[in-house]
Symmetry: C2
Subunit: 192 residues, 2 copies
Amino acid sequence: SWVWRAPPPGPVWEEENFQGKRCEFVVECPNIMERGFQKIRSIKVENGPWVGYEYPEHQGQQFILEKGDYPCYQAWSGNSSYRTEHLLSFRPIKCANHTDSKMTLYECEDLQGRSFEICDDYPSLQGMGWCSKEVPSIKVNSGVWVGYQFPGYRGYQYIFERDRRQGEYKNYTEFGTQAHTNQIQSLRRVQH
Amino acid sequence: SWVWRAPPPGPVWEEENFQGKRCEFVVECPNIMERGFQKIRSIKVENGPWVGYEYPEHQGQQFILEKGDYPCYQAWSGNSSYRTEHLLSFRPIKCANHTDSKMTLYECEDLQGRSFEICDDYPSLQGMGWCSKEVPSIKVNSGVWVGYQFPGYRGYQYIFERDRRQGEYKNYTEFGTQAHTNQIQSLRRVQH
């Protein structure tokens, strides 16, 4: 059977600034500690995008990793309230092209209430007419999206994918294991 | 003579979570302390975008403020390495529409070397083919842009405007008073 395989993301290091023990993985890595690492503190993403997680088994805070240099945790975090100083698990994500990305926001949980379809990046959802700082539920019609707690792509990050949960995120507990509110004030597409 | 006047940004507060002393300003505010405030720790932006600054007279770290709720400094910072816990000056910015925004990146300082014209958002400049994690100089042809130190719109923010410096940013000291490198790994447009 055919298995989609992402290109290798590029090397990761145990210490900041691309120092210390180094490894490359070519498929999902559910627990970097099983490979003899204590943590990952710097990354060069050569083929993206991947998602990095605070804890093993893709648990905890999630961080979108697109092509580029991440010399320290500040580079992936963008969240100054809750520091995640190293990453412990990784997986590739399979994106659509920007022009094919589409998602629907719902006014209530369980994909209920009035809805709004988007197919562009929104640094401010309120700026485009969404009347709340919260998004109670989401249906991803295609592609991969990142939602953020604050305007301008800041604060907690949530990865929303067509290929997980049939694209349905019915309440904030499905946004991520670290989510404790449905506050989402900016949203953007991810592409290769 | 005609003076462009931005709509009022919305109220600002001395304490987090929209508490404490409150004020609204309708034009540029070069120093909030001159109005009897110690600092600004939360903001509701009703009409954006504005730029908030770490220090008076639009000095220090700069933060793009688009429509939405900023209950605490984490909401505007997105920079976990260097905390700016309050803002002391503000000014409105005058944007183009997304479709009219255009800028040119140069391989060398002083707008020299090979150049690359962009008119879209780039969460990863390296992902679109820019071969370095640095952008030595920039010419804004139209609109307002935000550059970020790291991929995915993270780290230090730099506001680039057509209406300032004739849109020319010839080296990193012109990016902002806090800039100490020319590292820019993501770039996006700002619009009303």
